[in-house]
Amino acid sequence: MTVLMQQTTTALNGQADAMVPETAVITRIQYEAPDIATYTLSFTDDHIREQYQFLPGQFNMLYLPGIGEVAISISSDPGQPGTLLHTIREAGNVTGALAKLKKGATIGVRGPYGSAWPVESAEGKDLIIVGGGIGLAPLRPAIYHVIRHREKYGKVTILSGAREPGDLLYPDEYDAWREHGIEVIVTVDRADKNWRGNVGVVPMMFYKMRPDGRKTVIFTCGPEIMMRFVVYEALARRIPKERIFVSLERNMKCAVGFCGHCQYGPFFLCKEGPVLSYDRVEPFFSVEEF
């Protein structure tokens, strides 16, 4: 059995002080759902804009002076690092203030941080990408990567779930993904009569797939409860723990392992995470209030 290695990079931040952000301008705002928008960011400094690179699954710290800083995953194509997209839901003080910003506004950005989806070690395997709600955002760079290198992967399935059809992320792109020989299964928890797609929680969609446990890799991101049941369904289909990757969320203040907030047992989720294989997090996955 091959052990998939996590890919990590350190911050590419040019500043000697990792906590000091660079400035970036919001060049485009695209509304995805009533409380979700995708922001296109462009670094003010030409050199940084040209040098900046990230791996799928990594995140940036976005800073609004006077309001605060928040960790947001990157949702754009790692093959086009100059165009930096973040899909953000209005949920707290910082994201609430971001939602009030207009095109042209300047914010602070530092990153990228954290571990990545192991897209390279998953080559040659079947891949199931499971995103729940806004959890699809950090998976999208992996999807773009796979599309770019489609021939290197076996069967690829994307499972996108949300509470209601209006909450689904990136629905306009599903057909384009399908054109690259990717099966896209979409499901919602509830819907009215106008919805013609699947209704049922994300983990139940595993009953519609027949993954080959010997050669399948899973990437999943979404509410922790959802990921827990995705893991159970995957294990029931004999997909080994070390080939199931989850992206975990904790409070993050510094993103470089100094502030201690994102600790998850031995892991700093800002460094060793957010993407971790299930065999590493299993001892803590079901511990209450961990």
């Binding site: 350190t10 911050a11 500043q15 000697a16 002080d17 990792a18 906590m19 000091v20 952000p21 660079e22 400035t23 003010t44 002076p65 006077g66 309001i67 605060g68 800083e69 949920a91 707290g92 042209g104 506004a105 300047t106 914010i107 602070g108 969320e249 904790r250 409070n251 203040k253 510094c254 470089v256 392992g257 100094f258 502030c259 201690g260 907030h261 600790q263 047992g265 031995p266 700093f268 460094k271 001892p283 803590f284 511990v287 209450e288 209030e289 961990f290």
Partner: protein, 372 residues
């Protein structure tokens, strides 16, 4: 007596009042002296001017949840146990401006804080040197270094003190961090009856003695120092069995002992804030009302702060039980996986300064004893 420059590794003896000469040399070299002094019924670490500011003739009695300053009247300068402060307040200050943000028109400009004081630490114990070494791993030896810590750390002069006075809550022997200082100092000092025995730890340490009268240490002083260390080892108030401790704690995350300690724990954060290795922080924005200028300030935080594990949707550790478990399992277990060492140096501060006297050695032993 001579006053040439002693070489690293050398043991020398100076008269007690010659310490003032060292202090003056350090000050002349632009060091801000920080060291023990008596304030608010305790021996704290603060800026000091001269030898007289040291807690001469003072000592302390400690126990779980209790500290009492006492007059020993023995004329000794370093005859006390570690107090409520630790050196982290100078290397990693409780409040530190990281950078400022200035709005100008549509744009914003960030300016890093480059301030870097130059401290001479007077009286660093073995356990405290070990604590500094642990914080070095966190702030200096990872993929990213903290520039503020780095500057303060690199510029710091360390006068260490061999501990002849362990307290009721101390267990540095268990943690192998004391009572004798091992390395990482410029000078180390043992307070003898009539003199100070100094070991030169670095060239800088030797240079700062250029104006002092000293003579090479004789076997009398070296023996006396050894005897004091042995005595100190015998007088440790507490011990902690560290064998397999990380595994034992992490295998017992649902142990009933966590519920018991949560009955007593106030979640007040004192243990983490007095701990010389605890490093958790938060960042706050301090803005002027017009909103033009913002300072981003890093402050000490604690895993016992209810806000610490807040994510959108709620608090991941709403109960004190989970917070205490996080602290103890971090300190005595997962720290090892993170930094290759436990997060505890056996200084006993968390026991003394816990208002209700919760004792981590007792909690760890209880979980070890009653493994499920």
């Amino acid at each position: 007596m001579t006053n040439s420059i002693p070489m690293p590794g050398k043991h020398i003896v100076i008269a007690k009042d010659a310490l003032q000469t060292l202090f003056s040399t350090l000050q002349a070299a632009n060091y801000t002296l920080v060291g023990p002094t008596v304030r608010e019924e305790a021996i704290v670490y603060e800026e000091i001017g001269q030898m007289d500011d040291l807690p001469v003739g003072w000592t302390d009695e400690q126990g779980p949840g209790t500290y009492r300053l006492e007059e020993a009247g023995d004329g000794r300068y370093f005859n006390y146990v570690v107090g409520p402060h630790s050196w982290k307040k100078f290397l990693y200050p409780p409040k530190l401006t990281l950078f400022s943000a200035q709005q100008n028109g549509d744009g914003v400009e960030f300016t890093a804080n480059k301030e870097s004081p130059q401290y001479a630490f007077i009286g660093v114990r073995g356990c405290e040197l070990a604590a500094i070494a642990i914080q070095d791993r966190i702030f200096l030896e990872g993929q990213v270094t903290d520039p503020h810590y780095k500057k303060r750390r690199e510029r710091a002069f360390i006068l260490a003190v061999n501990c002849t006075q362990p307290g009721e809550t101390c267990f540095c022997v268990s943690m192998q961090t004391g009572p004798k200082v091992k390395n990482g100092f410029d000078l180390s000092l043992t307070e003898l009856d009539e003199s100070f025995l100094l070991e030169i730890g670095s060239e800088l340490g030797g240079e700062m003695l250029a104006d002092c009268d000293w003579r090479p240490a004789g076997s009398y002083e070296l023996n006396q120092s050894r005897q004091l260390m042995l005595d100190a080892e015998m007088r440790m108030g507490r011990s902690l069995d560290t064998a397999d401790l990380p595994e034992i704690l992490l295998d017992n995350l649902d142990h009933p002992r966590w519920d018991e300690v949560a009955e007593r724990c106030l979640s007040c954060m004192n243990c983490t804030l007095v701990c010389p290795t605890c490093f958790c922080s938060d960042v706050q924005d301090v803005s002027d009302l017009t909103g033009g200028k913002t300072e981003r300030v890093r402050v000490w935080d604690s895993c016992f702060n209810p806000d610490f594990s807040h994510v959108h949707g709620g608090n991941l550790r709403p109960n004190i039980r989970a917070r205490y478990r996080q602290w103890l399992t971090h300190k005595l277990a997962s720290w090892e996986a993170q930094f290759g060492t436990l997060g505890c140096v056996g200084c006993g501060r968390c026991i003394t300064w816990c208002p209700v006297g919760i004792d981590l050695t007792e909690e760890a032993a209880a979980i070890r004893g009653g493994q499920s």
